[in-house]
């Protein structure tokens, strides 16, 4: 089968380009065992598809990166908790309940508990409220409750390890109130203020109502994530997963199973290349009143009498403040209007202002206003671009949906044919007759061959479609990820010091290149795929059916081709983005000012051109080959299809194997 051969060929290529296809997705469920295999590759989502068994490792050659985080669901959390409790309980020879209390007190760190316990057991027992001996209730028939002061028979009374007796009714009230007050119930102690005996889960289960028991249990499980320094909840709304992180390399990006990416350190959305401090400053700045104040300072003047800020949007210089002030003054010099008029140069100019300015009397206020204006403009410049990329992300998500819908439509289309073909027997008959005429073979044999052929084809088509879905998911995710990086580069740019011109130029150059690469990807995604969505409905006519089937075959092979090329192009862009991120994270330290100025000069030409849309297959303007990516044109050349800057091979592009 042609399509099969092409498919196989493509996959061989992909195996070579292992670096790109490493994001094989997380196959199978993440086990409660903390060594679960979940792929961690920046920019690729954890594609946990159930039907991933088709795309098994025999075809995709993925390798395990050393994982520095694990996704935990509720059962995993419970299991981890139980394991820790068992460990402590056996090592320290104490009850499980006591172990639970200890662990919770020391933030679920097994090592800390061990250290503290074996350093000074007495002190730990006292701090946590674990008594050595369990004092039973006094052996009398009746006891008086310390809370309600009623007497009850001994079996209606209960006490913690300290032996202070209270009636079960009062216990229920006490424990119930504590539980309803929140997670503080996990640190509950004996009601007697002089006694610090801890109340553990066993007492709660004995004394509380069923609802309260349930609540206590939930707090207990949640405490494993909230009190533990190594785990945090995924911040995506509605997501119930927690992430266990091993602090190591300094890259805090986490991809949750719910497909939300976030920075583990500051629990904001993923924000490479900027660091967490800058991110929080930026977010604060966006929300703070400071910008409003800046705007007011820059664009308004205070009334000389009542000091309220006034913005002038039209008209002459004669301003009358609103009641109750009603002061009349000149906008230019803020002096009283009674001293103005024809004498001072008319109603639209102000002699006094000019004269005063020459004397330098208004410099200070003017300067402040100028500065405020400039800083506001600068901030607005970066903020607008950051915000646009923010909203582009939702557009992209919709685009992704659109793409998937397209694929699903094709999938459904194929299913219909599958069903139709087998249900319409006379078409089969006709086909067999025609074929037997052509092939001069007995019908029965032909029938078998034809059916087998069709089944293979259908299955292959399904397979191809699944694979295409998977690849397109990666593709869309790549675009989303690149957009996010681009968005944060704007925040980065805002905080670049003004006086470092070389860095600034280099940064803006890098950013421009990144933007144009991304635009190209966008074009690919939107334009190219449109073509394949124009499908008509199934037809009962056999000829039409046959043509459609043939069309589908070629459609699949061509679309696979397109995918290939786009993904290679995407791979190039992705590499480029990785470099950008790395450069920015190093603080643009490797800036060579000469090279920068040369590059920056020519990048201005490219920058203006990249704004316009271009066709998908990298048929960029020829200025690209002169672009500043190649410092020396004679040894480098840019491939026209994928824009890869080839160094070694003179005639065939290394990335996409197209001839020059």
């Amino acid at each position: 089968m042609d399509s099969e051969d092409e498919m196989a060929a493509m996959m061989e290529d992909s195996n070579d380009d292992e670096e790109f296809y490493v994001g094989g997705g997380g196959y199978g469920d993440d086990d409660s065992d903390s060594d679960g295999v979940v792929m961690d590759y920046d920019g690729f989502m954890d594609h946990d598809s159930d039907d991933s068994d088709d795309l098994s490792s025999s075809h995709l050659h993925y390798h395990h990166r050393s994982q520095n985080y694990t996704i935990l669901d509720e059962d995993d959390i419970r299991q981890c908790q139980e394991e820790s409790i068992t460990k402590i309980s056996t090592v320290l020879s104490i009850s499980r309940v006591a172990a639970g209390i200890l662990l919770r007190h020391y933030n679920w760190s097994v090592s800390k508990v061990n250290d503290e316990w074996f350093a000074d057991e007495e002190k730990v027992r006292k701090t946590v409220g674990l008594l050595e001996n369990d004092s039973p209730l006094p052996d009398v028939k009746e006891l008086t409750c310390g809370i309600c002061f009623e007497t009850y028979p001994r079996d209606r009374m209960s006490a913690a390890a300290c032996g202070h007796p209270f009636c079960v009714i009062c216990w229920q009230g006490y424990v119930g109130t504590a539980i309803n007050d929140g997670p503080g119930c996990l640190m509950l102690r004996c009601p007697d203020p002089s006694c610090g005996a801890a109340i553990g889960q066993d007492m709660v289960n004995k004394l509380a109502s069923n609802d309260d028991k349930e609540k206590y249990n939930r707090y207990f499980v949640r405490s494993f994530v909230e009190d533990n320094r190594k785990t945090k909840w995924c911040p995506a709304p509605g997501c119930e997963y927690a992430v266990d992180f091993v602090v190591g390399s300094g890259n805090y990006d986490v991809n949750c199973r719910c497909s939300y990416s976030f920075c583990w350190n500051c629990v904001e959305e993923a924000h490479r290349p900027v660091d967490c401090g800058t991110v929080s400053k930026w977010i604060l700045k966006n929300s703070a009143e400071s910008e409003n104040m800046n705007w007011i300072l820059a664009n308004s003047k205070p009334c000389p009498k009542c000091k309220r800020p006034i913005e002038k949007n039209q008209g002459c210089m004669h301003i009358t403040c609103t009641p109750p002030c009603k002061f009349e003054f000149c906008w230019l010099c803020l002096g009283a209007w009674t001293e103005h008029g024809e004498r001072t140069g008319g109603f639209y100019a102000c002699n006094r202002y000019e004269a005063a300015k020459q004397e330098g009397a208004y410099d200070d206020a003017e300067k402040r206003r100028e500065m405020a204006k400039n800083s506001l403009e600068r901030y607005t410049h970066y903020y607008e671009r950051w915000a646009t990329n923010q909203s582009v992300k939702t557009l992209l998500a919709m685009l992704g949906l659109f793409w998937f819908t397209g694929l699903d439509f094709l999938f459904g289309y194929l299913n219909i044919f599958f069903g139709l073909f087998y249900s319409i027997s006379y078409e089969q008959q006709i086909l067999l007759e025609k074929l037997s005429d052509i092939q001069c073979q007995p019908e029965s044999q032909l029938k078998f061959i034809v059916e087998a052929w069709l089944q293979c084809f259908i299955l292959d088509a399904l397979y191809i479609l699944r694979y295409a879905e998977y690849l397109s998911a990666l593709f869309v995710n790549l675009i989303v990820e690149c957009r996010r990086v681009l968005k944060w580069t704007y925040a980065y740019g805002y905080y670049l010091p003004e006086n470092e011109h070389a860095k600034k130029q280099f940064f803006e150059y890098l950013q421009g290149e990144a933007e144009s690469g991304l635009e190209r990807l966008h074009q690919c995604a939107e334009k190219e795929f449109q073509v394949y969505l124009n499908s008509e409905g199934p037809s009962k006519d056999f000829n039409e059916f046959r043509t459609k089937l043939a069309g589908l075959t070629s459609l699949f092979s061509v679309s696979v081709d397109i995918f290939c090329q786009q993904l290679i192009g995407a791979g190039v862009t992705k590499n480029y983005f990785e470099n950008l991120v790395r450069a920015l994270e190093n603080g643009l330290s490797d800036v060579d000012s000469d090279a920068v100025c040369r590059q920056a000069g020519s990048s201005k030409n490219v920058g203006s051109g990249s704004g316009k849309g271009r066709g998908g297959k990298g048929k960029g303007p020829t200025s690209r080959s002169n672009s500043s990516r190649n410092i020396d044109d004679s040894t480098h050349w840019s491939c026209e299809y994928c824009t890869y800057a080839n160094v070694r091979s003179p005639t065939v592009c290394e990335m996409c194997q197209q001839r020059r």
């Binding site: 309600c148 009601p191 007697d192």
Partner: protein
């Protein structure tokens, strides 16, 4: 209808009547057991004790005022007897009025206590609310009305300037004890005349 809170409050009242701690008294209002009026005597030999007065009329005056406040003649009687007994022919103990508002969560939740008389104290707000640990996070269901009032009484002489509700008083207490004592006496006198 007798909820656990009400039962417990009745028991507290009974205990207060049978075995009253020194310098403290309290009773619920006629129609509402959840709202109590209470008085605290200023502790002996402190600026809070209101100074000396051997005026018999004053005793009578106390009698009427306290009677009006507490609505319980026998309690008043007790107080009068107490003040006469322990007066040592000198002091008329200065009394400070408070209200205690209980909820159905009592004794698992503390009551809201505030002073009605004007106070000058580092841990008492201008509106009369009290900053006291056992009334907030260190509350235990074992504390009863007597315990609350006793600890407030001891707070009068042992303020905690580290959690100041009245910053001026706190500063004065730390820096200028004499001025602080003077202000306390002043306020005690003022409230006395305001009665």
């Amino acid at each position: 209808m007798s909820t656990p809170a009400r039962k417990r409050l009745m028991r507290d009242f009974k205990r207060l009547q049978q075995d009253p701690p020194a310098g403290i008294s309290g009773a619920p209002q006629d129609n509402n057991i959840m709202l109590w009026n209470a008085v605290i005597f200023g502790p002996d030999d402190t600026p809070w004790d209101g100074g000396a007065s051997s005026d018999v009329d004053n005793y009578k005056t106390i009698d009427c005022k306290l009677y009006g406040w507490l609505h319980e003649s026998h309690t008043c009687h007790n107080l009068l007897a107490y003040s006469l007994e322990h007066s040592k022919q000198r002091a008329v103990y200065r009394t400070f009025k408070l209200t205690l508002q209980f909820t159905e969560d009592y004794p698992n939740k503390p009551p809201t206590v505030r002073f009605v008389s004007r106070m000058f104290h580092p841990n008492i707000y201008a509106d009369g609310s009290i900053c006291l640990d056992i009334l907030q996070n260190q509350w235990s269901p074992i504390y009863d009305v007597a315990a609350i009032l006793t600890s407030i009484q001891s707070l009068l002489c042992d303020p905690n300037p580290n959690s100041p509700a009245n910053s001026e008083a706190a500063r004065m207490f730390s820096e200028n004890k004499r001025e602080y004592n003077r202000r306390v006496r002043e306020i005690v006198e003022q409230s006395w005349t305001a009665d």
